[in-house]
């Protein structure tokens, strides 16, 4: 819209800026892009910078002491509870990620190779639940796994169990199941795209040269879909590590994750600088795990080739 206005502006007032805009395509592009980039900068870069600064402050009564100190980080390193929560978050979301990618791969494979008509309808069907309220999908699992929930009461009324299974809700397993279910669409899309791109003639060539279905899959399909697997792993692992809703509603004490700890610092504990430090630590660890994962996939890829 503003492009058209720019063009009109040039005809009316051939000022300096208008002449520059007319001559430089790049500048016009930047002008068009700038509102969006500005919103994102204000919404992400500036807040992150202040978050980083705050992580070096300390709490003083109801206010903050803004002299820089690494005390928060020292505390995070020395008190085992923080490391334990971080480790548990990585463990839970790592499990959820592996489970999701494993379960979604055959589905993505099916749509990519065995659906020939209405592929889009399938993709829409698979991704549809992902777009609806995350809170409500987690609530659904609470209803299902609850002490008097769907599973327990169902099994009870069928006479299969005598007493409700207490371990269903408020456990790590419950969190893993809920996360895997909630993020399935995020895994399906990159997997599907990478499988769909595979040149079908490569598969025919492998078969003609004597590979059976299993060898063909291991030597052609799997390596070529590796980028999709990597993307899916990232897309699920990163957001789930810092998830708050699922552990808060489903996790209980055993399933609480680093997100809950961060929220506590900004809520009940009211130690914002500590919360800021934990957020920064979480981001750094996610980045570190991500880089390590990338390096490993590089090596694996090099071995396969």
């Amino acid at each position: 819209m503003s492009l058209a206005q720019d063009d009109r502006g040039q005809q009316r007032a051939p000022g300096w800026l208008a002449r520059r805009l007319h001559r430089s395509e790049t500048l016009r592009g930047w002008v068009l892009l700038s509102p969006t980039a500005l919103v994102m900068a204000v919404g992400i870069l500036v807040p992150t910078a202040i978050l980083l600064a705050m992580s070096f402050w300390s709490r003083q009564g109801l206010d903050f002491d803004t002299t820089l100190t690494t005390a928060n980080y020292a505390r995070a390193a020395s008190e085992p509870i923080f490391g334990a929560f971080l480790l548990r978050s990585f463990w839970i979301s790592g499990l959820a990620t592996v489970l999701t990618v494993l379960l979604c791969y055959p589905m993505a494979y099916f749509v990519a190779f065995h659906i020939h008509h209405n592929k889009m309808l399938w993709i829409v069907l698979i991704t549809l639940p992902f777009w609806t309220s995350y809170l409500l999908r987690v609530f659904a699992w609470k209803v299902i796994l609850g002490y008097e929930g769907v599973v327990n009461s169902g099994l009870l009324s069928m006479g299969l169990i005598e007493e409700p299974l207490a371990f269903l809700l408020y456990s790590q397993a419950a969190v893993v199941i809920t996360l895997a279910h909630a993020w399935a669409a995020f895994a399906i899309l990159p997997l599907y795209v990478s499988l769909e791109k595979i040149d079908r003639s490569l598969l025919e060539a492998a078969t003609d040269l004597g590979d059976g279905p299993v060898r063909r899959f291991l030597r052609i399909t799997l390596p070529l879909s590796l980028p999709g697997i990597v993307a899916a792993t990232f897309l699920i692992f990163i957001p789930t590590t810092g998830d708050y809703i699922t552990p808060a509603l489903i996790g209980g004490p055993d399933g609480a994750m680093i997100g809950n700890l961060i929220q506590l610092q900004f809520g009940a504990v009211n130690n914002w600088p500590m919360g800021a430090a934990l957020s920064i630590i979480l981001m750094l660890w996610i980045a570190a795990v991500g880089v390590a994962f990338l390096i490993v996939t590089r090596i694996v890829k090099a071995r396969l080739a």
Partner: protein
């Protein structure tokens, strides 16, 4: 495509798996509407009879309707602004060769993967440092950040499949830029605009974590639901409310994906040639 090819031969186990996958994907959500019609305050089997009582009760809750209006106005504002910004960004990225543009697109997509809690507390810290009181405006700002990636991701394929020679033809035939935009450019990208609007509206309407950190005294609808979740006694009415929200969300998103994808498919084949 040769349908008789051995690679594309129907694979029975895989078909069964796909069916199971869809069932597992949808059944958990479908328990919400199922129990919302159950004539018992307890959410458990066996079902005790059909009732619309829980739905009737919703209409007597003023706090719920206030929260609903809050969510509606936030979602409308957010979807309008993000779609406008998304159009500008998609146009800029596809029309011009900008140095560092892929880095910027990656940056815009960042909120898709950064844990929501980090974006939430970072904005909270900024807003409180500026001394701005938390309100629906701060929630709107948070939702802008969350929704922009969805808008750009929806609009980019639309603009990528865009054939520039159409615009050039229009200009050669003497149309001024403004009317070229309205008569050529806009109709071509319109389905993407509609899809982006519907998607960002739904995402904002359903968003919880930003609202959790950034809302003041006026709750959004998900915040209202969250506050009710503490009371098991309220579960049936939350179920009724959730079922209605889910139904509307499903319809809107289905429409959005359908409109957006349909267009993207037939233009993509042309776009690939470049």
């Amino acid at each position: 495509m040769s349908d008789g090819s051995y690679i594309q031969r129907p694979n029975r186990p895989l078909q069964v798996y796909a069916a199971l996958f869809l069932i597992v994907l949808y059944v958990p959500i479908l328990f919400l509407p199922l129990f919302s019609f159950n004539a018992s305050i307890y959410v458990r089997f066996p079902l005790e009879g059909f009732t619309t009582e829980w739905y009737r009760q919703l209409f007597q809750r003023d706090a719920l309707w206030a929260a609903f209006r809050n969510s509606l106005s936030v979602a409308l504002t957010v979807s309008l602004i993000t779609t406008a910004l998304g159009v500008l960004a998609a146009r800029a990225v596809t029309r011009y060769r900008l140095p560092g543009q892929s880095a910027i697109v990656t940056f815009i997509m960042l909120p898709l993967v950064v844990p929501g809690i980090i974006l939430g507390v970072a904005l909270l810290v900024l807003i409180s440092r500026l001394g701005v009181p938390l309100s629906l405006y701060t929630v709107t700002l948070g939702h802008l950040i969350v929704c922009l990636p969805f808008s750009v991701a929806t609009l980019l394929p639309r603009f990528e499949g865009f054939d520039r020679s159409m615009e050039e033809a229009s200009a050669d035939l003497g149309e001024p830029p403004w009317s070229t935009f309205w008569r050529v450019t806009f109709p071509i990208v319109f389905p993407g605009v509609v899809a982006s609007f519907l998607l960002t509206f739904t995402v904002s309407f359903d968003e919880f974590i930003m609202a959790f950190f950034l809302s003041g005294t006026d709750p959004t609808l998900p915040m209202y639901i969250w506050s009710q979740l503490r009371f098991p006694r309220e579960f049936p009415s939350v179920l009724a409310l959730s079922s209605m929200i889910l139904l509307v969300s499903f319809l809107m998103v289905f429409l959005a994906l359908w409109i957006g994808r349909l267009g993207a498919v037939d233009t993509r084949s042309e776009g690939r040639v470049e």
